[in-house]
Symmetry: C2
């Protein structure tokens, strides 16, 4: 029977969530005082990290490892290492939400909002001050999640050479992600100047690397994969990660509101620079360009305005372009998988099916 | 002739600054495009990091290493590793300045202020928006400095076991520092509730560990020091680090404005919870307590108000208490040095003289 990617992810998510819970609980226990403010911040981080997410990154570490193993000799350590990217993800999301002024995340308040509300419950602090203090504490909560990511790898019983290599991958990826963040924020100043290549480069740096390449490579290297094999995984991972983002943006404007958990207006209101918008601006008539530029970044955008933008994106061929690009990237990605020989067929199937799922998903 | 600590620090600072410069330049060169916004952020980080500071932390790595070496067999790598704590310091300062709303640092603008001004120079962005964007980019600039700290250790040619141990110390220290940051921020809500023990614990976690213990231990372990020797270094480092902070606060209220580069009003205006204030509040009469509580945190505090607080701090015996505590901590610290046997006498002398300098310094 064919593998069901969502079910596989769901199964591994249970393992990951239990590992994350254990990790945070051990940190809180170490402090030895649940009322200590530091324990409180870690509890917040625990709730935030466990609140949602498909745990794609840990799954890539798991399957990256499985590719090159038959028996699961060091499985416990692989699971421990696999949560590193989930902690990194918490770190990025927390800092991102501050910079993007997003008050929601995964169906709950963002970290700075949680802490702001917590501050308001304390006596003698104004709402304005609570806002600043909540944001401040959220910067440190993000920093903490980042340090925890390195810590979870240090805590494994893996050979030092492997730990060291994993930490180097984790940190090099971090430098790329931050590079992408900087480009992304700055592209916000002049969104019209952003080209397709630049956007795809941001997707590569800011998302593809830490979402797919890095967790996959860490899993593989812990199983003793060769440099050549790590390179092939990278070639699989990067276009797939780019496709993931492109498809995310496609769904953002044309997906089902209920399934996505956000309305189609959301990306537009935020002024998000997507390939849909870039290509539409390239090919639209003057009057249509004006409409896009007027509505993009308008926090009060209405349904009929959204409809107008959707129509322009369709009529300029921009939607087709974007969907086809995602397809091409995914095909490119899958082709590299064929270069992996003598690997565990179950793991290879997961990677293949995951790529297919990227295109078929509707949320 | 007796060793001059300031001169030693000054000599090593030249080496460190040149290493930092090389590090940042190589990062910018790697990008290959000086006009890329990411290059700009790294240039800002370079200017910020090189702007000032005595480079105490790198010096501790150097002398920690020298303690257990005769020849400087891996000196280049030790210098490279020694800048890790200077990069960590930049990371902490950048994030701290955001949370403390400090617009100045080391005689220039803080990072968020630098970036805010840079944004204002870009067209089409309001001052309010520039403030938010500058702060956002500064969060990432701090994050970047943090990743660079791990990166500089990875880049050394040291044995993997040593790199790994150094990174573990660096990261464990980071967790302690963040723990201290969280306690420090939260103590701001109810400063009157802060006890002497709690303050000294914050000094320990937030400063002593990453300023003295961690750089010293990393230097020592790179020279092959034993666990027992690392423990002794820790016992030397922690009280010294606490004394450093206590003395810093003493100078903050009673030091020479010109030498310190900041007026005596500065800590009071900021509402800083120092041992001077805690002890004065403990022993002051009701009317004096009221004065302190009224002036502490008043951004418009006048010279005569400062004088009143100084008088209360003196008359309650709080200044003497604080000075004596710093002395006791330093003596405790120096006693542990005697347990270090068969070490390089020059390095040991530096550690001894540095402790003395802590007390004698007037800036």
């Amino acid at each position: 029977m064919a593998m069901n990617v969502m079910q596989e992810l769901g199964n591994y998510k249970k393992i990951v969530d239990s590992e994350l819970e254990k990790f945070f609980d051990s940190k809180i226990e170490e402090i030895g005082d649940p009322d200590n403010p530091y324990s409180t911040v870690i509890s917040f981080l625990k709730e935030y990290t466990l609140r949602g997410g498909k745990r794609i990154r840990p799954a890539f570490t798991y399957y990256g490892n499985l590719l090159f193993t038959e028996a699961d000799s060091c499985l416990d350590d692989v699971i421990k290492a696999s949560i590193a990217h989930e902690l990194k993800q918490a770190y990025y999301l927390i800092h991102d939400d501050i910079t993007d002024r997003s008050d929601e995340r995964r169906g709950g308040p963002s970290m700075h909002k949680m802490l702001e509300e917590w501050y308001i419950q304390q006596n003698g602090i104004s709402h304005e001050e609570a806002r600043h203090q909540g944001m401040s504490m959220a910067i440190f909560a993000g920093d903490l999640a980042n340090s925890f990511a390195y810590d979870t790898i240090s805590q494994t019983g893996l050979a030092v050479v492997k730990k060291n290599a994993a930490i180097e991958i984790l940190n090099n990826t971090d430098l790329d992600t931050l590079h992408g963040q900087v480009l992304d924020i700055l592209s916000g100043i002049e969104p019209e100047m952003l080209t397709e290549d630049e956007l795809l480069n941001i997707h590569l740096l800011k998302s593809a690397k830490y979402t797919i390449e890095s967790p996959l490579q860490i899993g593989a290297l812990l199983a003793g994969a060769s440099k050549e094999q790590l390179k092939i995984l990278s070639k699989y991972a990067l276009p797939l990660g780019q496709a993931f983002q492109v498809q995310d943006d496609n769904l953002g404007l044309f997906g089902d509101e209920e399934k996505l958990g956000k309305p189609a207006s959301s990306d537009l209101a935020e002024g998000k620079k997507t390939l849909l918008i870039i290509k539409a601006l390239e090919n639209a008539k003057h009057s249509e360009k004006r409409i896009i530029n007027e509505y993009l970044g308008n926090p009060n955008i209405t349904e009929s305005m959204v409809k107008q933008v959707q129509d322009i994106v369709k009529s300029t061929g921009s939607l087709d372009y974007s969907v086809n690009l995602a397809k091409d990237l995914i095909n490119e990605s899958k082709e590299y998988l064929n270069q992996l020989e003598n690997v565990n067929p179950e793991a290879k199937e997961f990677l293949e099916k995951f790529a297919d799922y990227m295109l078929d998903r509707d949320y």
